[in-house]
Symmetry: C2
Subunit: 193 residues, 2 copies
DNA sequence: TAGCACATGTAACTTGTTACATGATTAG
DNA sequence: CTAATCATGTAACAAGTTACATGTGCTA
């Protein structure tokens, strides 16, 4: 069982879903911080079934669509998920290609790089906006249901809070570099006169 | 040429180094945000030589140590590096396993999870401290050399600034979750009475 | 005398991405 | 008529990790 398998288990612990639905949910909620393609999901689900952590039932579809397989977590699966959550996590590596480019920024054209940084800022601001909207959506959903499993919703909220602060930090860093680049250009111009 | 090759080029553009030295420098400076093992570095360097982006000279070692290969960036290599830096970067995925565990936090034992979060906080605080120290070291190095390629040092500084703010953000988020867990425990205790 | 620093590499394995494959329905 | 949505999968490839391999000199 690898991380992907536990991600799927974590979602199935909230509600039973098909592989397709899992892919969609993952793209929407986890897209920017853990991209998973459907080609990974299907073998992983088969693995989970083989390990006895999930079962599935085939739903015959109307309108002659391909049959659905709805996956459900088993008790063994819940135990495995819990063990994974409680186990120590090895330190994360960020692996951000853009930061590495920034490290070699000095070899590139400064004016061009201002454009590149503006692009990145726009991208992360868009993500920020998206996450803020999703947080709002979760909040209203949370208020609507006064009973039930509210804790799982609180955790989803906390994840969005993290991604929001992450994107805010990213944008403000990019802005800092951009200001540096602009200032330097200014200084160069003064030198020339 | 993949990202790894350009990372190596980016370092070699600053100073010629051996594979072993590259591995050491990468571990020290890039460790927490782009881990690279030496087993990846050697084939990548061979690839760079084949592409004509680097050359190397063999340095015979005293004390009967294995011979060193010192790699140097070529003009073609500098061009390739620049093209990579100036090219648009596809959006980063964070891929943080701990966040995914947090998403499934509600299935685990709350008291145990407080311990897990305290561990993470300690880890990231340690990293934060490390980065702050390295930033200081870069600053003194930067002030010491009044001439030369100061811009590459400025960029290295900016990277450390990013990692520092990243870790600060991470720690403060973990603290938020921890407070939530503590509060919830408190509430449960009151309920019981 | 055990382990670490130096120095370079290969091979097997795991994980993730891209391309391919099928096939109906519905909206623009 | 083209693209998107629904729905599941396989296969080839790229990237990254772990284990193995060699050999000396220094330190605890």
């Amino acid at each position: 069982m690898n991380t992907l398998a536990y991600i799927l288990l974590g979602i199935l612990a909230r509600e039973p879903l098909s592989g397709y639905d899992l892919a969609r949910l993952l793209k929407k909620h986890f897209g920017p911080f853990w991209a998973i393609s459907h080609t990974q999901i299907y073998p992983a689900l088969a693995q989970l079934v083989e390990a006895g952590f999930t079962t599935y039932e085939i739903i015959e579809q109307q309108a002659r669509r391909p049959d659905k397989k709805i996956y459900q977590i088993t008790e063994a699966g819940q135990g495995a998920l819990r063990a994974w959550v409680e186990a120590p996590t090895s330190p994360t590596v960020i692996r951000d290609e853009f930061l590495l480019k920034a490290y070699s920024l000095w070899v590139a054209d400064p004016e061009h790089m201002q454009g590149i940084f503006r692009e990145q800022i726009a991208l992360h601001q868009e993500r920020l906006f998206m996450h803020e909207q999703e947080l709002e959506a979760k909040r209203t959903k949370y208020l609507a249901m006064s009973q039930g499993n509210s804790e799982s919703l609180v955790m989803a909220e906390l994840i969005f809070k993290y991604t929001i602060s992450y994107e805010q930090n990213y944008v403000s860093w990019c802005n800092g570099v951009l200001h540096y680049l602009e200032q330097r250009e200014e200084a160069h111009r003064v030198e020339e006169i």
